[in-house]
Amino acid sequence: MAAEAVPALPEGTTPSGSRLAGRLLVFEGLDGSGKSTQARLLVKWLQARGYRVFFTEWNSSELISDTIRRGKKKNLLTPTTFSLLHATDFADRLERHVIPPLRAGYVVICDRYAYTAFVRDAARGCDPDWVRSLYGFAPKPDKVFYFRVPVATSLARKLASRQKISYYEAGMDLGLADDLIECYEKFQSRLKREYERLVPTDGFVVIDADKPVETVLNQVRREVRPLLTGFPKAEALVHADE
């Protein structure tokens, strides 16, 4: 007796093991570089043009946010455990929220990606090759936008927003300075140095984040447009299904 055939996946999606059907766009940069604003504007623009878009930001997943929060609160984390916990969080988030829409043929926009871990963990003294190898499971983005901003601007925007600067965010665990703000500034300088190191090796598209919002917006759109030539829109997918 012949076994019933497994139904084929819909057209425009990725069968297991082949190149991902969707597009992966990543926004990276220091806090206060304007990357989140631009990422959201791009989402709106693409949606308005009829693309299926999925937006995700890397702050925390359901899985281990409690542990990270608890560890941070009690300052229990070392650079290695900090790095591994964030990698766990990233893997979980990637498998739940990034890979499925990519296979389904969405444009996935990530506010922060593995590069955030590369720079943050390197700034904490972890071996950069080791950190990169941890993230070996992450698909390579179609485009990475790096929002370059002077540390002073990042700091000024952070302070103006009146958000509380956390212990780890300021890199206080490294003891770079006793004062929180001074430490934050020093740690951000380290992060910036690490980002700059990745510009040539990872082919970042550098965005001068000091420019006006509209100028940046147009630059981002110009970079994204060619990636979407012939890329199916939501309607087309619906029609193909009928």
């Binding site: 281990i64 070392t78 650079p79 591994l84 990698a87 766990t88 893997a91 070996g136």
Partner: protein, 235 residues
């Protein structure tokens, strides 16, 4: 061999000098008599005058609850689970194993990264990825692999618990819906993986298809030279 060597990357802030303490690892499946042997070795070493700290997997205060929760839900992928276990292991390494070795204690590890690697690999993780991931692990002074045949493990598990554990049967791998068959296949896969690692990492294989007394006599002979390097044995 100094005990502050790792397989790959060094941990930030690792001491440069060799540790005065010894790291002894016991590996082997559930039912291989591993825990019994850890207890016997500990007793013997303490009688000989060596302070002993024992450690195992999933005992860190940072994550053990989290791992139990994650296992209950059973929705994590091989990658996520391997990273979660690595975080837990790193926490124990930095907060328990290294301080104990620095203080001159003998650390008896009831399972080590090899188990974590084998579990990840049989679940589809690539060997090179798993090796790099756990590259921060210290190279033990001695690793003893208690090797028991899968059918012996099976009988011991049934005799001890009256049933086969979901995870020890590798039910999450979907090898078979039948737990008996799944246990057999999963444990055979793990054993094969340990066979590969045996040469790669220089395990000392001890035949664990025997009674605890026979196993203990052999492991003691392996451990003794670490403390009496000139071959001088106290009576």
């Amino acid at each position: 061999m100094p005990t502050n060597r790792t397989y790959g990357t060094k941990l930030p802030g690792m001491p440069r000098d060799p540790f005065p303490g010894k790291l002894i690892v016991l590996e082997g499946a559930d039912g291989s008599g591993r825990t019994t042997e850890v207890d016997l070795l500990r007793e013997w070493l303490e009688v000989e005058g060596h302070p002993v700290v024992d450690t195992g997997l999933r005992r860190s205060s940072l994550l053990s609850e989290q791992i139990e929760e994650a296992k209950k839900g059973n929705t994590l992928s091989a990658t996520t689970l391997a990273l979660l276990y690595a975080a837990d292991f790193a926490d124990q390494l930095e907060n328990k194993i290294i301080p104990s070795l620095s203080a001159g204690s003998t650390v008896l590890a009831d399972r080590y990264v090899y188990t974590l690697m084998a579990r990840a690999i049989v679940r589809g993780a690539s060997r090179s990825w798993a090796e790099k991931l756990y590259g921060f692990a210290l190279v033990p002074d001695l690793t003893i692999f208690l090797d028991a045949k899968t059918d012996i493990l099976l009988h011991r598990a049934i005799a001890k618990y009256g049933s086969l554990d979901y995870w020890e049967s590798g039910m999450d791998l979907c090898l078979s819906r039948d737990r008996f068959e799944s246990f057999y296949r999963y444990q055979s896969l793990l054993r094969a993986e340990f066979g590969v690692m045996e040469n790669r990492y220089g395990f000392h294989r001890v035949d664990a298809n025997r009674t605890p007394t026979g196993v203990h006599r052999e492991t003691r002979d392996l451990v003794a030279p670490l403390f009496h390097p000139e071959g001088r044995r106290r009576r």
